[in-house]
């Protein structure tokens, strides 16, 4: 009997939180099919009176949504690939090679994780101005090509690779690049997936720096472009919700399909911490 009661309570609680997390999304999806008049009206109906598919067609044609989507996708993919590479290489060198100042370098890198973004953003902004990199993707990608978090994680992961494996390969005559690409890299799949997920989501979400750097409309990233619905005098909620629904969709689909890997990757990342 006790078991049944506690089971009911537990299920209720879990259900409650499920509703809390999904309700706003369902509401947004419903609202994306309403007209602005309907969204703003006193009589708040949860479901749209009529399916306004026009919101979506507007977003795709007038808002140039596809362009922003592709921009964000390219940006996120590039960041992910680059940081995986640099993090793994750095992690490898910092864990498996012994050299003077190794600990100092690593500690220094670690310390940068504490620096709030606001401290460096202003000088970086000025630097980009001087270099003439404003309004280029260089300005977005280069400052993010190394990530302390990734380096930290990969170094941890590399420690678990037995040295004997490396020595054996060296005795067999392999050079370091071969060792890295053929031995280290494949061993670190889990950590790589973790970093990939973190970096991709971070890049997809990134707002402030892309907002400051990119000027030309067609180069804008999706996260920044969503703010365009916020006009000088009023916000176009219908368009915004439609655009957001589409913007979220791929990430959600990706997440649902690769859920298991996703979550394994996320949860394993903290254990090494």
């Amino acid at each position: 009997m006790k078991r049944k009661i506690s089971m009911v309570i537990l299920n209720a609680a879990l259900l409650f939180f499920s509703i809390t997390t999904t309700l706003p999304f369902i509401w947004m999806l419903c609202s994306s099919f309403k007209t602005n008049v309907e969204i703003n009206s006193q009589a708040q109906n949860f479901f749209p009176q009529q399916l306004m598919l026009q919101n979506y067609t507007n977003v795709l044609t007038k808002f140039d949504f596809l362009q922003y989507f592709i921009n964000s996708l390219i940006y996120a993919l590039l960041i992910t690939v680059i940081t995986i590479y640099t993090s793994t290489l750095s992690g490898f060198v910092l864990s498996k090679y012994r050299f003077k100042g190794r600990q100092l370098l690593f500690t220094g890198i670690l310390l940068t994780m504490m620096v709030p973004g606001v401290v460096t953003i202003i000088p970086r902004y000025s630097t980009m101005q001087l270099l003439g990199w404003i309004d280029t993707y260089k300005a977005l990608i280069v400052p993010s090509s190394f990530t302390a978090f990734g380096i930290f994680m990969m170094r941890q992961a590399c420690f678990s690779i037995p040295d004997e494996m490396l020595e054996a390969a060296r005795i067999d005559g392999a050079n370091e690049f071969y060792i890295f690409h053929r031995i280290i890299f494949p061993q670190l799949q889990n950590s790589i997936v973790s970093i990939a997920i973190f970096q991709f989501l971070w890049a997809w979400d990134d707002y402030l720096w892309p907002y400051l750097m990119i000027r030309t409309g067609e180069k804008s990233l999706l996260s920044v472009a969503l703010n365009l619905f916020n006009g000088r005098y009023s916000t176009d909620y219908a368009g915004l919700f439609a655009a957001t629904s589409i913007a979220i969709l791929p990430v959600v689909v990706f997440y649902i399909v690769f859920q298991k890997r996703f979550i394994e990757g996320v949860s394993s990342s903290s254990l090494k911490g």
Binding site: P24, F99, P116, P123, R124, T127, N175, S223, I256
Partner: protein
């Protein structure tokens, strides 16, 4: 783990030296250019009246710093930020523990489905959900008041505005904690639990005496990353309240962003950001000290 016995391997291959040098140089170059130099620039800039839109760069001495420490707005934002960051972190951890424990328990079916739902807000961009929530908080038209049957003016009532921002933040991030803690629980040694059960320990005791201590490193990871992240919150403020009503919901990073990219007082903003930097450094230091003590025990 076996280590090489010599510091410098006489047989150190050329490729090792090349790879090592490339990486070390890249790392030093990158972190110098993108961290060390900007930090120095920010420090220097904080002594100037610096407006890049007007190409203005006049020496001010310590005027900016005086301004920071005598600014009521600054102290209020720091206060708000600390309260907010701590509250958000505490709730995130508690919710995370509670829900992950519930999911881990053998009584529950549909674990994966629940996990999917909880993590959903985390993967969506903050700027998108912030606008949705802005509407949800509307006193007449929003979902929240309709469900609670209240007419609280969430975003304009000085008692509730910061709470509204907290609600959004917790809603968005608790799923992350659930996922991580759940992963942690799965990797806990089962035999301890079986032994404890045999010894007659109740569910609550098992949780408090076994699960919690074993999860300490994971919990610490969540706490530290949460604190660092929440100290830099600003998108919710920007979308929901713009620091209002009045200046009640100003958070540190929002203040800095406002000074830097709305008013273009780069010098003053740099001074502000340095003080924030110090706060975070101290906070991180304390966390590590605390965790060090725990590890020792």
């Amino acid at each position: 783990m076996a280590h090489r016995s010599n510091e410098k391997n006489a047989l150190g291959s050329r490729s090792e030296i090349i790879l090592r040098n490339i990486m070390v140089i890249s790392l030093i170059a990158f972190f110098t250019v993108f961290f060390v130099i900007p930090i120095i620039m920010a420090l220097v800039g904080s002594f100037f009246q610096w407006n890049p839109l007007k190409l203005q760069f006049n020496f001010l001495g310590i005027e900016n710093w005086k301004g920071v420490f005598t600014s009521e707005l600054f102290w209020r934002s720091m206060g708000n930020t600390i309260v907010f960051a701590v509250a958000a972190t505490v709730f995130r951890v508690i919710l995370g523990l509670a829900l992950s424990h519930a999911l881990y328990s053998r009584l529950i079916r549909h674990k994966t489905l629940y996990r999917t739902f909880y993590y959903l807000p985390t993967i969506t961009p903050m700027i998108a959900v912030a606008f949705v929530w802005k509407f949800i908080f509307d006193p007449q038209l929003g979902l929240l008041n309709k469900i609670l049957n209240s007419d609280i003016n969430w975003l304009f009532d000085d008692r509730y505005a910061l709470i509204a921002i907290l609600i959004l933040t917790i809603w968005k991030d608790f799923g992350y904690a659930v996922v991580i803690l759940l992963g942690g629980m799965y990797s806990l040694p089962k035999d301890c639990y079986e032994a404890a059960e045999i010894d007659g320990a109740g569910a609550w005791q098992r949780f408090w005496r076994l699960t919690l201590p074993l999860l300490k490193p994971t919990i610490l990871f969540i706490v530290i990353t949460s604190l660092i992240s929440y100290f830099q919150t600003y998108i919710p403020v920007m979308v929901l309240t713009q620091g209002g009503p009045g200046t009640q919901t100003y958070l540190a990073t929002y203040l800095i962003y406002d000074e830097a990219f709305v008013k273009y007082n780069f010098g003053y903003a740099s001074a502000l950001s340095f003080v924030l930097f110090l706060f975070i450094a101290v906070l991180t230091g304390i966390s590590f000290k605390v965790s060090g003590k725990n590890n020792a025990s």
